[in-house]
Every structure is written in C-alpha cells, then in structure tokens.
Symmetry: C2
Subunit: 434 residues, 2 copies
Amino acid sequence: MDTEEFRLYGKQMVDFMADYMHNIRNHRVLPQISPGYVRDLVPEQAPEEGEPWEEVFKDIQRVVLPGVVHWNSPRFHSYFPAGNSFPAICAEMLSGVFCNIGFSWSASPASTDLEMVMLDWLGKMVQLPQEFLFSSNGPGGGVVQSSASESTLMALLSAREKAISYVQSIKKDLSQGIILEKMVYYSSIEAHCSVEKAGLLSGLTCRLLPTDAAFSLQGDILQAAIDEDRTQGKIPFFVVGTLGTTNSCAFDNIEKLGEVCKKENLWFHIDAAYAGAAFICPEFRYLLNGVEHWGIPCGRKFRSLKMWFVFRLFGVRGLQTYIRKHVRLAHEFENLARNDNRFEVLFPVVLGVVCFRLKGSEVQNEEMLRVINKRGKIALKSSRMRSHNLYFIRFVVCGKDTESEDIVFSWREISLAANNVLNPKVVGDKSETF
Amino acid sequence: MDTEEFRLYGKQMVDFMADYMHNIRNHRVLPQISPGYVRDLVPEQAPEEGEPWEEVFKDIQRVVLPGVVHWNSPRFHSYFPAGNSFPAICAEMLSGVFCNIGFSWSASPASTDLEMVMLDWLGKMVQLPQEFLFSSNGPGGGVVQSSASESTLMALLSAREKAISYVQSIKKDLSQGIILEKMVYYSSIEAHCSVEKAGLLSGLTCRLLPTDAAFSLQGDILQAAIDEDRTQGKIPFFVVGTLGTTNSCAFDNIEKLGEVCKKENLWFHIDAAYAGAAFICPEFRYLLNGVEHWGIPCGRKFRSLKMWFVFRLFGVRGLQTYIRKHVRLAHEFENLARNDNRFEVLFPVVLGVVCFRLKGSEVQNEEMLRVINKRGKIALKSSRMRSHNLYFIRFVVCGKDTESEDIVFSWREISLAANNVLNPKVVGDKSETF
C-alpha cells in the first residue's frame, strides 16, 4: 500500500467508521457466534502473496462484524463505558502515523511533554491539590497508565520498594523474603479484583476489609485492621481506596482513610477507574474530598494526543455536559425501575450505574438476564456484592449517543423479559412477552 | 464532532498522514527543542468551551511536529524499527472505532478469536513446532503482549507461580517468603535490561551470565551456574534466552540452553523482540533452532486486526521482501564502513543492525555521535557491551521506506562528522566538514 493508495483506502475506512457509528442502532448489541467462529471463516495460514485491499476490506463485514460486541451502541449497558469519541479516534490516527515509542523523553519529546501538560490539565479539572501537579515544580505530576489494573500494580510495587527500604533501614537483620512475608496491604472487599490480583503478581498479601451498609470502607475498620496486624508483627504499607466500585459504584470514605494512612505512614492509592471522570463536574467533586498530601508513582506512556484532542474539542463544559447527560439518563432508568413494583433499585444512583433486580429469586433474575442477552438487542451484566452474596443486575449508561429513547427501549426489553419470566399470562399492558 | 464532521475531519487527517509520510525526508529526524517546550506553547488549563477543529488541527504543526522524533524516517537508525505500515494504520483505525475491550472472550469475541488464528498464522510463518499452536488442540497457543518487557515479566511470573507450587509440594515446611529468596533465574549479561527489571518488579533474583566472544550465552555456562546455585541451596527456575540482543543483535545458543532447561526442568523464555520478525525468512530460521517442547504463558489482548491486515496485505512474501531489504541495506552500510579505514565494524551483521565505531578513543566516538545527532538529519544511538565495556555506535535500518540513497546519505553524514572530529584540515575528498 503506497501513500496514494493509503489516501484512498484510509478515506474509505473513515467512511466505514462514520457509517458504522451512524447505523449502530441497527446492530444487535451482542453477537450470535460461538468461540472459534473465526477459524471457520479464514484460511489456516497467512497468504503467500499479498491480497488486494478490496478483499481484506470486504472481510470486515464477513469475519469481524459478526463477532463484535457493540460497545459504542446506545443500548450497551454492560461493564462500563469505553469512553470512545470521534476526537479520540482522530488523535489515535495521528498518533498511529507518528508511531512514536515514548520510553524516554528523547525518544519522543512531543508525547512526554504533552502528557505532562495534559495531566496537569486533568489535575486542575478535578481540582487536585496544587502539589499533585507538575507545575508545582515539586515531586508532583501524573502519568497515563494503560489501565486501572496497571495503575494499581505500579502503585503497589512502588510502595513495596519504599516500604522494604524503610524496614531494612530500621531492622537490618530482616531479609527481604521475611519482610515480604510480613507485608500486608488493604482494600475494601468490594474493590475491583485487580487490587487482589496485583498482590498475586507482586507476591504480596492483600487483606480485604468489610464495608458499611453503603458498601463504603470506613476509617475505623482500616485502623482496627492495622492495629491487629501490627500486634501480630505484620507490616502494613499500602491502602487502596475506591471511588465508584465496579459492582455498585460505591464510594469509600477517602477523607477518613486518608487520615489513617497519614497517621500510620501508609501509601494511599485511589482507584477511580469509573467515577474519576465525573469529578470534573463541581457537583460530584465532593466525592473526591480527602485527596491531599500523598505521592503518585512515576513513568510514562503515549496517550497525550488523545487527551489533548478530547479536552480541546469538547472543552470542559462539553465534557461536563457529557457526564451530566449520562447521570440524567441513569436517573431516568432508575425512575422507570422504581415505578414498576416488580423491581427494586438497590443502591443510591450517584453517577451512571443503576443496580436493580426483580423482586424474586436469584434464579428468576438469572433467567431474565439470560433472555435479555440472548435477544442481544441490549447488553446487561449481572453482579454480586461479595459481602452480601446478593445477585443483581447492573445497568450502565455507556454509549456516547445514548438518548432517552434508548433508555425507554432498554427498559421495554427488560420489562418484556420480566413478563416472560414472572408470568407470561397476566392481562394488561404487561402481558406482552417476546 | 458529529458523524458528518468526522467524515470530513477524519479524511483531512488521512490527507495529513499521507502528506506526512510522503514528505518525511524533508524533516530533521531529531527535533531541536528542550524539555518542557510544550508548556510554553499551550494554555495552562483545558478550555472551558470546546474549540473548533481547525484550531486543534493547526496546532499539530505548531505544537506537535517540532517535538516529534521521526521514527518513520528512512534516515532514522536509532533504537529499533517501529514496524509501522499503512495496513497497520488502517487496522488501528478500525480497531479504534470498535473500541472493544477484550478482557474476556464474551466482551469481544472477534478480537480474541481472530488473535488465536493470527498467532497460529505467525507460529506457522516462523515454523514453530505444532504443539505451540492453538490448532494442535493441546496446551499450545500464543498471545499478543503490549511489549517485550511485558512478555518477559508475564513469563517470569507464570514460572514463579509454577515453581513455588512445585517446591511447596515437595518441601511443605518452606514458607513462600523463604522460597522466593532462594529462587534464581538466568539470562545473558547482554540481555535487555527488561529481563533484570522483571526481577525487580516481581521480587526475584536475576543472575546475569557471561557470554562467549560472539556475545552468545552457551549451555555449559548456564549448566555451571545452575550446579553452583543448587549446591548453595538456591532454586533455579527460569531462563531467558535472547535472539538478537539489543546491543549487538547477538544470538544465544538456544539449542544448548534448551537442552539444559529441559534436563533441569526450568521454564525457558525466548526474547526475540528484534530478531523475531526475521524468522519468517527461511534463510534466517536456523537462528531459532532449539524451540521445542516448552510452554507459553496465557492471557489476551486486542491486536489481531493489525496482524490480520498486515499479514494479508503484505502476504508472507511481501513481509519476507521487507525483511530482506532491511538486511541488504544493513550490508550496504556495513560495506561503506568497512571500506573506510577510519572505521571498524565490530560484529557479524546478521540482520538489520550494524555495530561500528571510529578507530579512536571513546571520547572521539562520543563527539562524532554528538555532532551527528545535533545536526539531526539522521538519528543514531550509542551502546556499550556490558561484558567488554566497549563503546560503539548502532546503525539500525528502521524506516519502511529506507532506500540505498538513504544509506548513502546517512553514511555521508557520519563520514563528514568523522572529518570534523578526527582532523578538519586533511586534504582530498574527506576534508569536507560540516
């Protein structure tokens, strides 16, 4: 593919992308294929000679689309929002052609430099204290990691090295292996599984602590655990607080946890993978209260172009509008669910996640979810609180183009599935089934 | 940015990308800016209102380009090839619009399924034994990691867990901390620094072994180290062999190392970050001999579209041609260096890396490199063999469009810089300086 061919095919791809997004409501959200489906559709080995573009392009329709989960669909309410947008796509195209590999400043000055400024922009948007910013000229400054899991792991590893150095400086007879065995870190039992996984990867012990009735980890619970562990000769060194848990979008008590960490000299890492974006809206910023006077790990990757395009083309107001629309739509769904007495909404709806269930057995809820996802017109995911063993369904507003009509559409899917499961033969409006 | 705007701006971006690649020889390869340059060119915070596309697009020229290292330039001979291509860019555009997050099969069946098939294609292209392939229906199968560093870390962590389980099954009194302290893994002293770093991240001890005169790690050296460590009660569990070291593109003796690993029951990981691609050419495949009967770690990411587009649009023959051209150009450079008696070429040129130096002091070589990179018309990087403390310069053929004329151009830059450094006043053709 030479430059002029790319000019042609690249634009053909842009048209495909635009058409795809324009017509996204025409797709089933969930595909109807079985594992291994691609193997039946493509040759067993790479072609010896290059194929024409047209053949490859055609196969997007034939091979790829049948297996795509449409994360961009306004009716995708599963997992979490992918946060895609046209400005982000344009930035990634540009980043793709530069293909800069930013493992050091000199290998890609533009990406590192822009990243530093963009992280400061972001820090200011969520009103982080000044000392968290590069512009404070202190140790502050942020870095983009590939994922929340990686962020937690990096913070844990950094805290581990710091803690080992500290312990070895005061107890010179302890070997590193013994220290590692004694080290313990904490998070809520409702934290994302990546918090525990980071411990498995790095050989460290994670202690999951119980939450209060709102699934929020409180300072006194943390303090008691630390006291108990210190009595037993263990070495507490790290705490993960979560803002917006994956299950139910619950918020740990960051202010109190922070006080304990400060007093006990523990590294405090905050995982705000889902809720973080909402802190650019002043009305949600209070959820972040307590973020003061702690370090952030170092390192660098190339994502700054994407942030730059998104921040500028939306503007802070545009991003706030985006977040607020998602929250408003979540409340619309919440109202629909609350007004149907067959359902219950389980937790306060703060951002874009509504946790609900049929007032019925777990089996009935599972069956309802199975019916919905098998139809595949909308996508939903179940969840379970680890502390209460309570099965429920998460409805997440994900799509960038989700509108009230999609919420109504999705609710109708759920309502009909409930008819199917609860009683296919009742009279009236709710008697309709699939 | 709505769909129709994206149709317009996306195509504008495609034109920018095509123009950039078409005119890439007009750019200095290395930028002339200082750390922090972006901060002076952009506002201190994100705009409150969204900006028009035109403003953002203009700033690519004003803000980004001045800080870009042109990794795509035919005269970029630093680090390693980024391996960019138009088919790869088209695939990333498509991947960008789907925005599928493939943490499980059901979250993105197309990407997982296609990745399994693409890894088999790749395995067949480099003639891996059948049992390494998914299609063998055994434990075989590959996975794309984000980087070679991550691959090594994942393999190390997997081997660690396996080894701990094994040791605990036969010595029930040993705690995990004690076992971890005793565990040791091996690589050549010339291996990439990520091999040692993986040990730092995972809390494991790495022992770097000496190489022979060709910077190749041999089986008897490994065997002796294992014997010595076992005598001292240590637990050998993992070996990293390198095919194409970063420094000098040296090749460890995989066959002999493999025999030792098999005999000693150690996990054998092969890092072929640079040289791996060349194994699709039959004439270089012998370098991989010895890859037989060992495991590969599991996990999944989404890169398969890119592989699919690249494999199909180039074809195996196209990719072979690409690799062979790079190797041919490296030999062209080697000949130019060998025919100038002011220079020496240090190691056999096997693939696309030529290690050379001025016959002179380290200071003179450093000065020559400084002059070249300050002019920025080509990009070169120095290196140093850890075992010999020998300073030299790496010339790597990187650009997808590098031609003989670029090799001649680059050689002239180097030759003139040598004039500058060695003796600016000699007569004849070589007297020319910058």
